[in-house]
Symmetry: C2
Subunit: 268 residues, 2 copies
C-alpha cells in the first residue's frame, strides 16, 4: 500500500477516475481512533467485495493509531482506492492500493442536537438499488451529494427512500425507528451504508435486551413512529425531535442507548 501524506493524488488514480475505492470517517478522542475495529472490518469487507488487494491491514492500523495520537481529537478521514494507472474500466489484478489519510476538526454541531434532538426532513432524491454495493462506504456518492443539496441549514439531516419506496437512511446517518415499544432499523441489503455506529448501537441494544428488527420500512411507517434517532461515527446518536413538521418526544430507550454509547467510550 502507498500512504499519501501529501495533499495531492495522481490524476490517474482510479479513486478520481471512477470512484473506485472506499472511505472511512473516524472520530478521534484522547488520541485514539474510536471504533477502529469496526471501521477496519467494513473497509476489509469493501476490499473483498470490490476485489481491492489490501493484503495486510496491520501497517494501516499502525498508521491510523499514530495519526490519532498526533491529532489527539478530531476526525481522521481515510480514503482507500484501487490505485493508480491506465485508462478504461479494466484493471490489473496486482494494483497497489492508494491510501489517503487526512485530519479534520470535529464538526461544530450544536450540543442541543444530542441533548434535545434535531429536526429532520424528507429528501426528494431517491437511492438506487444495487445489492453488489449495498452497505459499503464506497466513493460513488453522487446520490448523497444531490440529496444534501436539497436544503441549506434549516434541518440537521434529510431522510432518503430508495426507488422502491423503502426508507433507507439519512444522507450521512442511519436511522432507528420505534413503534409502540418495538424498535427497527432499515434493512440495507439493496442500498445504504452500514454505519459503524449503527453496528455499535445494534450490539449495545442486544446487550441491554432491547430488540431491534432489521427490516423494510415505508415512509408511512416512519411517519407513524413514536420514536426516532439517527447515528453516525461523528454525531454519535441524535434523537429526532421533529420529522417533517411532526413533533416527536425523546423516549427513555433512546437515552439509555445514548448513555451506553457514552459509557462504552464510543462518542467523540
Amino acid at each position: 500500500m502507498t500512504f499519501h501524506s501529501s495533499r495531492s493524488i495522481g490524476v490517474d488514480d482510479r479513486g478520481l477516475q471512477y470512484g473506485d475505492g472506499l472511505f472511512e470517517t473516524v472520530a478521534v478522542r484522547d488520541g485514539r481512533p474510536l471504533l477502529w475495529d469496526r471501521h477496519l472490518a467494513r473497509l476489509l469487507d469493501g476490499c473483498a467485495r470490490l476485489a481491492i488487494r489490501l493484503s495486510d491491514p496491520r501497517p494501516l492500523t499502525a498508521e491510523v493509531d499514530a495519526r490519532a495520537r498526533e491529532a489527539g481529537a478530531g476526525v481522521l478521514k481515510l480514503i482507500l482506492t484501487r490505485g493508480a494507472g491506465g485508462r478504461g474500466y479494466g484493471y490489473a489484478p496486482d494494483m497497489t492500493p492508494t491510501i489517503v489519510l487526512t485530519r479534520h476538526p470535529l464538526p461544530d454541531y450544536p450540543a442541543a442536537n444530542r441533548e434535545q434532538g434535531v429536526a429532520v426532513r424528507w429528501c426528494a432524491m431517491r437511492l438506487s438499488r444495487q445489492p453488489r454495493l449495498a452497505g459499503l462506504k464506497h466513493l460513488n456518492r453522487l446520490e448523497q451529494v444531490l440529496a444534501r443539496a436539497e436544503w441549506a441549514q434549516e434541518y440537521a439531516e434529510g431522510l432518503m427512500l430508495d426507488t422502491a419506496g423503502n426508507v433507507i437512511e439519512g444522507t450521512m446517518s442511519n436511522l432507528f425507528v420505534r413503534h409502540g415499544y418495538g424498535w427497527s432499523t432499515p434493512d440495507l441489503g439493496q442500498c445504504g451504508v452500514a454505519g459503524v455506529m449503527r453496528g455499535a448501537v445494534l450490539d449495545l441494544a442486544a446487550r441491554l435486551g432491547i430488540e431491534v428488527a432489521i427490516r423494510d420500512l415505508t415512509q408511512e411507517e416512519v411517519m407513524a413512529a413514536n420514536g426516532l434517532f439517527l447515528t453516525n461515527s461523528l454525531i454519535g446518536l441524535w434523537p429526532v425531535r421533529e420529522l417533517a413538521g411532526r413533533a416527536l418526544t425523546v423516549c427513555d430507550t433512546t437515552r439509555r442507548l445514548q448513555e451506553a454509547l457514552n459509557a462504552a467510550g464510543y462518542l467523540a
Copy 2:
C-alpha cells in the same frame, strides 16, 4: 475554472472524495477533437443536472482545441469536478470546478473489430436504476468497474442489464439491435450513459432514412436479434459477430452506418 496540467489533484477535490463530477473521452484525429460539440453538450447537461457551475465553456473549448492540435492524434480525457474543499456532502454554491485534461494513445484495438466484428458476452453485474443520473457520464463508475472485471480478454465487450431486466448498454459502449428490418437502441431514462457516438449514429440514421426506435429491450429480445452493433467515441462502430456463443452476420445497414460515420469524419 481551474485547469490542471499537473499530474496531480488535491486530495480534498470532490472528484476523489465523492465522484462528484463528470468526464468525457474525446478521440483526436488530424489535430481536431472529434464530435467535440456533442461531448460539450453532454458535459453542460451534466453540469446543469448536478448544479456544477461552469459559467462559460469557451475557455474549455479553446483549451481542448489547443491540446488536440498539440496531440495530433489519440485520446483526450477530460475530467470536470465540482471543485476542492470541505468534508461532508454539502457544498458551497460558488465552488470553482476543477478540470483535468490528459492525453493518451488510441487503444490498440485490432482492425478486425471494426471489419469482421467482435465477440460479446453478458455481464452478471446489473446496473441500478437512477433517473437523476441516467444518461450522464459521471464519475460514479463502480458498476462498470465490477462488470468489466468479469472477464479478461476473451471478449471485446460485455452487455449489461439493469436491475429490472432491461438491456441497457455495454460496459463502455452503447448498443443497437436489429429485428427483421427494424432497429432499436435501449431507452436510457433509468440508467446508462448517453454516448456521444450513439447520438451521432441516431442522427446519421435519421438522415439516411433508417428508423431506430428508442425503447426497453429484454435479454431475450436481444438474443433473438438478427443484427447488433456497438458504438463509442473511440471504437466508432463495432459490428457484433458473436453474442454469448451465437453467431450473427453483419448486415448492410451496419456497413452503411459505418461508412456514413467515416464520411462524416467521426472515426478516430
